[in-house]
Point group: C2
Chain length 379, copies 2
């Protein structure tokens, strides 16, 4: 070490001097307020994921159409296993509108607690769509509440589409700051009921250079979107029963999102480029990477698009072939990370099993390339 | 839900329109590059924590004093259980200087792997200071390598003090943007060997309105700083053997940091206001809060200052009494979160035990106030 005689005195000015010497080698560490950290963690105004955008848009539109007094008198109702439940309860409480939430009994405790933070009007149901809808019908009969479905409505889709509007603005301003002119080639979003993905597809429908890709869990047929779209002719699958760890993506694709996925616009032959799915182990490994490398605490559903980028051979081949055709080796890819509603206990439930040597070897592979392939997929 | 007839068509322009209606209710979701996420997670240039600042400053100063060629010929050596090991290996590799790292055999695998990413010259030792120093002496005898100690040197202290310089600049510019004029009242930093805390104390030594507080784990006497400073007369404790989960804070306070802690400047009667410690359960709960609420993946050492703010009654009373004296109920407090070098497996090791009802009740308390008390401690 440098002789202590050659060091500067331990006073404030010496720290300024030290900083000048090495500041170019270290990143500036941001000062985060609690709110900022929440925001960075991809939650919106305290709810999980991008669901808040759909819920706020639906509620503001209902206020325009029905008037706030009428809406306050009747209240709102929805069914959801988690993120939409919280999002609607938050949006409703913002305008002092009562919100009845029907949640499946098997919902994760953190999502129930998160919902209860905004409304006391929670009822529990069985987990099938039919069981949920029965309880919703009962609430409507009793109270006259107005239904805000979790994904199958244009207002939800347009609201969730605004996440893409923001990401596109930020992408373009980062390009402008860097003096770079490149195209956003691919946007990947998770696919459950299809609200976020169809909103994303709608936003990019006038941008022919950007492909929108859906990402699903394959476990127990959870890839209903992929299977339905690849069928000849494409056929929507209306019932899915999967207990995938990506619990935010267990629902079948809704009718209106499905229509978006199977249509095109004047500038784009198809709104949706395709859907790819990944098995549980790959979702786990992507969740691990986001936590351990990116240091962001997410729920497994949020890691599904990263798992597709890193591990899905069909997706990687599609990218490779397009890149070959274009004569490039580097593409800008954006992944929508949506959902941070989980707990350490849930994580232990998922990762706490004894893991065999093969899995650990597989991780070695992950660790060696994971951190560099998130944004640019080399050909 | 609003009648579908009243909704806008599913096209890009409708999303812009939707956004205008509710944008004031949701946070803008940032577009993060992988690098950005790393940076936000408090790591510096890939190393854990703020150790990189100390290491880069020490290495740049050595280059000035000895010349780069001589330093490349001789190499560098240090002993560290983790973050400083990685930091020095990174700084050395930036300048193509060989770095010998002596790590205790019980170091966590992620920290060993992180170090190995920058240097192959790793040797293992026992975990006491004496055992580590013996192996270091051997390396020096064999290679002529120059020692860069983990914390007990002015260059390390000044380098780590630059974290405070940045946080203070950002604090002031956030105040200016908000049109607010308030004083940063307290900065809390973790205390292990004392490099980061003494650097923090030095930086704020010419700012009499800002108190600097050290935070330690109390398990198995890990609060050597607190015990030593509260002794009459204050006496540095040179040996500590604790296996606290805050493994980055197991080392005793170094001699030079100790001198800083027990001295004052012309504008400040004492550099360090005090040291407070917290038991393992409180460190666990603070770690849980940062992960589940702030969605940031950290190692338990990083959560120690938050645990002090939330749970240490002595610290809270000190704040309360000062606030009473000042006639205020709200203070700006900054917590330095340092260290994200952990794995899901390590987390399972810490949280994976069966937890009894009392613990879970205690968490209820945490959950009900945790998210609002991080930055402002009400009286």
């Amino acid at each position: 070490m440098a002789d202590i005689a050659s060091t500067l005195p331990l006073e404030t000015a010496s720290i300024h001097h030290a900083y000048g010497k090495f500041r170019r080698y270290v990143h500036r560490t941001p000062l985060l307020t609690n709110k900022t950290i929440d925001r960075i963690a991809s939650s919106n105004a305290g709810s999980g994921a991008f669901k808040a955008r759909g819920a706020f848009h639906a509620v503001t539109h209902l206020i325009e159409v029905m008037g706030l007094d009428e809406l306050r008198r009747r209240g709102l109702v929805t069914h959801s296993s988690g993120n939409h439940a919280q999002a609607l309860a938050l949006a409703a409480s913002t305008f002092d509108i009562p919100a009845h939430i029907v949640m499946p009994e098997i919902s994760t405790p953190s999502k129930i607690a998160g919902t209860r933070a905004y409304t006391e009007l929670i009822r529990f149901s069985g987990s099938t769509s039919q069981e949920r809808e029965e309880v919703v019908a009962q609430v409507i009969a009793e109270t006259g509440a107005v239904l805000v479905p979790p994904y199958d409505h244009p207002d939800i889709i347009l609201g969730q589409g605004t996440a893409s509007l923001e990401l596109y603005e930020q992408y373009n301003s980062q390009q402008a700051e860097g003096g770079v002119e490149s195209t956003l080639k691919v946007v990947l979003a998770p696919l459950g009921g299809g609200g976020l993905l169809s909103g994303t597809a709608v936003f990019f429908s006038d941008k022919p250079g950007t492909a929108v890709i859906g990402c699903e869990p394959s476990y127990q047929g959870g890839n209903d979107g992929e299977r339905g779209l690849n069928a000849v002719p494409p056929t929507r699958i209306e019932t899915v029963k999967t207990l995938t760890i990506a619990d935010g993506l267990r629902t079948p694709v809704g009718a209106i999102p499905w229509d978006v996925f199977t249509s095109g616009s004047s500038t784009k032959p198809k709104y949706l480029e395709g859907v790819y799915s990944v098995p549980e182990e790959e979702i786990k490994e992507a969740t691990r990477l986001v936590m351990e490398r990116m240091k962001v605490f997410i729920e497994p559903s949020a890691a599904v698009p990263l798992a597709v980028v890193l591990y899905n051979q069909k997706f990687r081949r599609w990218v490779y072939e397009r890149q070959q055709a274009e004569g490039t080796e580097c593409w800008d890819i954006v992944i929508i990370l949506s959902g941070g509603n989980t707990t350490i206990e849930a994580l232990i439930g998922i990762f706490g099993d004894v893991r065999d040597a093969d899995t650990q070897r597989a991780e070695g592979v992950v660790a060696s390339d994971g951190s560099t392939t998130v944004e640019n997929v080399a050909g």
